[in-house]
Point group: C2
Chain length 324, copies 2
């Protein structure tokens, strides 16, 4: 069973051996840049660790695991254009450091590179890996579209929000884990459990992100705290608060949302207080816990000894515990 | 042997049976739109006709042929953003009719749909089809990057220009023809000939486009005549003219290029006269002819009876003759 740090080593090694010193440099430089500014490589490591539940030779999962990582980074490049984001992982985004066209075209090339890596999958399992990847990639686009739609839309329900993050975030986590099962030629039932495990922990990851943006204890989280509040981002916390029956507090929250001139720190503090009065932190933690627990119910059903499951279990738990 | 019109029927049929009535509509509507505003479907038809050189059953080529058409349309969506184009095939571009983000994300989804169609290739030939497609798709991005670089660069050589159009245009024509050979399980020599046939006629197509933008006899060409001249586009004609030893005419041309206020019709007429005095139309026709002839030398080497080659020969010749 491979540990996270062992998988991370392999992935970083593979990333630095990608032949990206090619011409035209204007196309490949932004790709090298986005891959070099870090990231925890969660998805490829999940794929590898999932594969290693069943098999000690990880050869056949490396191509698709790398493909998933490149695809994920491609989505970051394009999302940053669409969101007009200026900072990513504490570095300037490609659309800022270069320009928008560079981010579009280098992103396109990255998606093709992702497929080139996926195509390295042994032929007997290639169709299955490819089908899941294609379906997932399309769902991620659908999720991004919903996310953009929500920006212009005033009344989003909590259910609609959960469907959006399922598509935008959770399905790629689910597909990473399932891909590891496919490349290890696991039983189809186990592949299904891996997928559902991933879907649930993917939901938990995203809700945790929403939560930590407001309630993290320090700044290790990478983004400045309260950014979602300042930007009126429709997160679970905000939607849940807006749905409350306490009309006074809802009205107060709406006032902050519509106010055009404000002191950001004051807005963050005030909205945090509203959230706390509405018991939103607790409700969010409960929902995270629910997804986390459901995920692990599927994980437990996988027909593999507990001993082999230790590393993957540790890794997923560690991701969730990072800032609590 | 399938005729162009038969192939076109099949492709149009397949296009209209793609299930694109999905949600979120904001993602899928621009895809339906770009596919509905026409185009001659040259690439998928080349793939099908190439396949039908060797085989009477076209089943296995349809997936990749459709994938190539979707990929081609994806490149149009993204190129139109990067070029800030407002009109495509006489209709408003997606970035104008919707907005830039819609064009980015719907383009991304189209590329994934392209891969979904490619993935329908029978498993025994899938790796070969996928490898060629991946390599070609990356080259098309490289070509687009070079094209963008050239806009900002003052001295492009004719050779650099030819390399750019090889990547941006010719390799996809080449890959379309080679893919038909691969799906028909043709001999590797014949697949190579098909590729080289396509590379040469692809070059001829693009040079013909450059030529017709200035010298077409009527407006059926779709774009308004002289658009490249007005926009100072670095086409073969312009680069060849700038390379001339007639310093007076080169200087006159440069004056038109740098002039900021001008009457477009006057500029077009004046530059046309310079081109004619420098014998550029004839030189362009000669180069087109050279590529066309080289292409057909490879076509002739393909180990298939002349009878089977008639339709493909007719189609390629027809494309080239469209406006002469």
């Amino acid at each position: 069973m491979f540990s996270y740090s062992k998988c991370l080593d392999i992935i970083e090694n593979q990333l630095s051996s990608l032949s990206l010193e090619k011409k035209p440099i204007e196309l490949y430089q932004p790709i090298r840049y986005i891959l070099s500014i870090g990231g925890k490589r969660v998805r490829p490591c999940l794929a590898m660790m999932s594969h290693s539940l069943f098999s000690d030779s990880v050869e056949s999962v490396i191509g698709p695991a790398m493909g998933i990582e490149l695809f994920h980074n491609f989505t970051l490049l394009h999302d940053d254009i669409m969101d007009n984001a200026r900072v990513r992982r504490n570095y300037p985004t490609v659309n800022v450091k270069w320009n928008q066209n560079a981010a579009i075209l280098s992103g396109d090339a990255m998606m093709i590179l992702a497929y080139q890596l996926i195509s390295k999958t042994p032929i007997n399992i290639l169709p299955k890996v490819l089908d899941l990847f294609n379906q997932t990639a399309l769902e991620v686009c659908e999720g991004q579209q919903l996310d953009m739609n929500f920006e212009k839309c005033l009344d989003i329900s909590v259910e609609e929000y959960l469907e959006m993050i399922r598509l935008k975030t959770a399905v790629l986590i689910a597909a990473s884990l399932a891909t590891g099962g496919i490349t290890a030629m696991a039983d189809s039932k186990d592949i299904e459990y891996l997928y559902r495990f991933g879907l649930n922990i993917g939901m938990a990851f995203q809700l945790q992100d929403d939560y930590l943006d407001v309630f993290a204890n320090n700044h290790q989280f990478g983004k400045s705290l309260g950014g979602d509040i300042v930007a009126n981002k429709k997160t679970f916390l905000m939607l849940k608060a807006l749905q409350s029956s306490d009309k006074n507090l809802v009205h107060e929250l709406e006032t902050w949302i519509t106010r055009e001139n404000f002191n950001p720190d004051e807005k963050i503090e005030s909205v945090k207080i509203i959230y706390e009065e509405l018991n939103i932190p607790e409700k969010t933690r409960q929902l995270i816990e629910t997804y986390f627990t459901s995920g692990f119910e599927f994980f437990q059903r996988i027909h593999v000894s507990d001993e082999r499951k230790v590393e993957l279990c540790k890794f997923v738990t560690q991701i969730m515990k990072r800032e609590h």
